[in-house]
């Protein structure tokens, strides 16, 4: 099983992509114990950023997950046509989101994000409040434990009282 989130983050940073880590890895960075097997990022949808993101995805040789046999050129035009994409790559699964559940805008998530050093890279990580809002909005039973964990982490971060 290949999953190297630090290297995936590094590719995005080195590609100068404007993004925020969300999902399970963001929860891990905040201290959550439940594991994840993919990297979820929210990305800015300006044309220059779509170009940079597409360049990183091409260099990563990503394939559309569950349609790996289909030859799809991942370029800025494709990214502009959609919003959410799930990819496989030699470094592991990478899911990209132009918008988040809970009607959170990229600008809001980016503004609330923390700058965190992971390995040799400094990345933006969605705040606990925004992660909780996203998880609440999905309403998926499988997310219930993850949501509960995020809420407990927020209580621990706030401290007693």
């Amino acid at each position: 099983v290949t999953f190297d989130p630090t290297s995936l983050l590094g590719r995005l940073v080195e590609g100068d992509v404007d993004f925020v880590v969300i999902g399970g890895l963001a929860a891990t960075i905040h201290g959550a114990a439940l594991p994840t097997v993919d990297l979820d990022v929210m990305y800015e949808r300006t044309p220059p950023n779509l170009e940079r993101l597409a360049g990183v995805l091409q260099r990563l040789s990503v394939r559309l997950r569950d349609a790996e046999e289909v030859n799809v050129e991942v370029d800025a035009r494709l990214l502009k046509a959609g919003d959410r994409f799930t990819f496989t790559s030699p470094l592991g699964a990478l899911d990209i989101f132009g918008s988040a559940e809970g009607a959170l805008s990229y600008a809001q998530v980016r503004r609330d994000a923390l700058r965190v050093r992971v390995g040799t890279y400094t990345v933006s990580v969605a705040s606990l409040n925004d992660l909780i809002a996203m998880k609440r909005a999905t309403g998926r039973p499988k997310d219930a434990a993850k949501l509960a964990e995020l809420i407990e982490l927020r209580k621990l971060a706030e401290g007693p009282g």
Partner: protein, 79 residues
């Protein structure tokens, strides 16, 4: 002190002079899991919070790399 607390003999996690293993006192003393009302292992979260973000990621990735192949093998064995 409320009625429930005043009823426990010895107080501070003790029942009849023995430590109640589910009490916060016992959990602090013996390192047993402290579980939130929602079922989350708080001792695990506290452990993670003592790590750096990089260490948290490395720990999780090591877990995934160790466990997922086992899950895959178990699934194949069932088929």
């Amino acid at each position: 002190m409320n009625a429930e607390e005043s009823d426990s003999e010895g107080g501070r996690g003790e029942i009849g002079g023995e430590i109640d293993p589910t009490s916060p006192e016992a959990q602090r003393n013996y390192g047993t899991a402290e579980v939130s009302e929602s079922g989350i292992d708080l001792s695990l979260l506290r452990h993670n919070l003592r790590l750096t973000p990089t260490e948290r990621v490395e720990q999780m990735v090591a877990f995934v790399r160790a466990v997922l192949p086992l899950q895959g093998a178990a699934r194949r064995a069932k088929q």
